[in-house]
């Protein structure tokens, strides 16, 4: 168990350091989601009341697209210089690599969300009518739901032709219940009409189920020959 965490931490620190120096993923994600926000603002020009009903969807669609940009770059770095092959022959646990990558992506996407949310608030004149603190569990669980499957499918699409296209094709259908939970939960909190408890439980269930599935199957995907 200790070995698992040690390797996870080492890989995570390496990834964060690389990202800190290059800022590849973060810059492209930020600019991409900024573009999505601006295009949405031009396409829909809603009143404050209407915007509460649609912003939940817009926010999560923007983050979903931006997350795909980051997820596509997750493993590309390891392909150069055959790092992934080296990892495969090393005795380090496969799940440590997966956890490190998923946690790294989680941190990047969370930073993106923290930076982009104020923009949405400004552009759409948002004022939350429900209990605002519940947005935090929805954001955390929702982001994890996206990145845990995204990291797994990115590793899967490494083995295919035109892998950049494959990732969204694999990720989006599986993510539909999570996206529905995030969007409906956010809308419920913004409008203050319903309780968001069910959606938090739904996202938690989704996270537990798919984290378990990813950890069970990742070794097979990494070592598949």
């Amino acid at each position: 168990m200790n070995a698992l965490w040690a390797v996870t931490l080492a890989t995570l620190v390496k990834d964060i350091r690389l990202e800190w120096r290059s800022k590849d993923a973060l810059n492209s994600m930020l600019f991409f989601s900024l573009l999505v926000v601006v295009i949405f603002v031009f396409s829909f020009d809603p009143l404050a009341e209407e915007s509460r009903h649609i912003v939940g969807g817009l926010v999560w669609v923007a983050f979903l697209f931006a997350a795909v940009v980051a997820l596509n770059q997750t493993w590309a770095r390891e392909l150069r210089n055959q790092v992934l092959d080296a990892y495969r022959v090393s005795p380090a646990p496969a799940n440590a690599l997966f956890l490190a990558k998923a946690l790294g992506n989680f941190i990047f996407v969370s930073v993106l969300e923290a930076l982009m949310t104020p923009l949405f608030v400004i552009f759409y004149n948002l004022r939350v009518l429900g209990p605002a603190w519940q947005l935090i569990p929805i954001a955390v669980l929702g982001t994890w739901a996206l990145v845990v499957n995204g990291t797994f499918f990115a590793a899967m699409s490494l083995r295919t032709r035109s892998r950049e296209i494959m990732l969204p094709l694999l990720l989006f259908p599986i993510s539909i219940p999570a996206v529905l939970g995030m969007v409906a939960g956010t809308t419920a909190i913004l409008t203050g009409e319903d309780s968001a408890h069910f959606y938090i439980v739904l996202l938690l269930t989704y996270d537990v189920v798919f984290t378990t599935a990813c950890l069970t199957l990742f070794g097979m995907i990494l070592h598949a020959e």
Partner: protein, 301 residues
């Protein structure tokens, strides 16, 4: 075995013809919906067939994944047995029964749960390790075809009856659509990846898809109970003559699906044999060429 194929084809053709006659002529016209309702005899059997094929695909994928390790195989066997036993017993506990949506009979749920171990052991017994993946491709492809029929005939019926093509919040519509999307992405994955790892990747995706479907069901079930849609589900009882016609159609469609799966299965086996032969040939050719002249190193991308 091969002689059985034409016999089954003839039987299926006769059954399909009779089923069409039964659906269009024998079945009584529905009182409120009129003749539009007859699409039901195609829609429902296609849906059952598609779900059955996807279920077989899931079982075959699991079998394929665990076939790599003896310990995983044993563990999976006991887990499946446990799911069958616990699930069947749980369906008859009053506390569990309260959780079922209205109109769902406990005996029906118990039968469905019991099918999991039955299919698991049947498929494991009938198909050796290397044919499991062929079975998975076959069932996924044919399943997508039948699921497409369901998704096309559904709106055709809904437009005159409900007045709308599609009810966004409806439980069955959305879960069928998501199931279809998952299996299309499964086929896309198989199409885009022709390496030796495709089978493993596809099996993993099938497991993810199967885990996803109950969650879709759960999310929309709640969604709908919050916002009741104008759609009124079946509910009422079926005329016994309609039930008979439905069963005949279901039998005909199952035979047809089995026939298509069978030929697709044989085709895929032949395809793999041919590919293997090509690979062996080029290996042998490369060996001769390497001896004769400089080694033919293939550039690695």
């Amino acid at each position: 075995m091969k002689r059985l194929f034409p016999i089954l084809s003839v039987i299926t053709a006769i059954l399909l013809a009779y089923a069409l006659y039964a659906a269009l002529v024998v079945a009584p016209t529905e009182r409120t919906m009129g003749d539009v309702q007859r699409i039901f005899y195609y829609h429902v059997p296609s849906a059952w067939t598609a779900f059955l094929l996807f279920f077989i695909n899931f079982i075959a994928s699991i079998q394929y994944l665990v076939s790599r390790k003896a310990s995983a195989k044993t563990a999976a066997k006991w887990i499946v047995l446990a799911i069958g036993a616990v699930g069947t017993i749980a369906c008859f506990l009053p506390r569990v029964q309260q959780l079922f949506p209205a109109g769902m009979r406990p005996s029906a749920v118990a039968t469905t749960v019991l099918l999991i171990p039955i299919f698991y052991f049947l498929i494991g017994w009938l198909f050796p390790e290397e044919k499991l993946d062929v079975l998975a491709v076959t069932t996924a492809e044919v399943g997508v075809v039948f699921c497409t029929i369901v998704l096309v005939t559904g709106p055709l019926w809904a437009r005159p009856v409900w007045g709308i093509w599609w009810a966004v919040g409806d439980l069955r519509l959305t879960s069928t659509l998501v199931l279809w999307l998952i299996y299309v992405s499964y086929l896309v994955l198989r199409g885009f990846s022709n390496s030796a790892q495709t089978q493993m990747l596809a099996a993993a995706l099938a497991v993810f898809g199967a885990l996803d479907v109950p969650l879709v069901f759960l999310s929309i079930w709640f969604f709908r109970t919050q916002h009741p849609s104008p759609v009124i589900g079946g509910g009422g009882s079926l005329d016994p003559r309609m039930g008979q016609v439905l069963l005949i159609n279901w039998l005909a469609f199952s035979c047809f699906a089995f026939l298509v799966c069978w030929s697709r299965f044989r085709l895929e086996l032949l395809h793999r044999e041919v590919e293997e032969a090509h690979a062996m040939e080029s290996l042998a050719g490369a060996g001769v060429a390497a001896k004769a002249s400089l080694p033919l190193g293939r550039s690695s991308r």
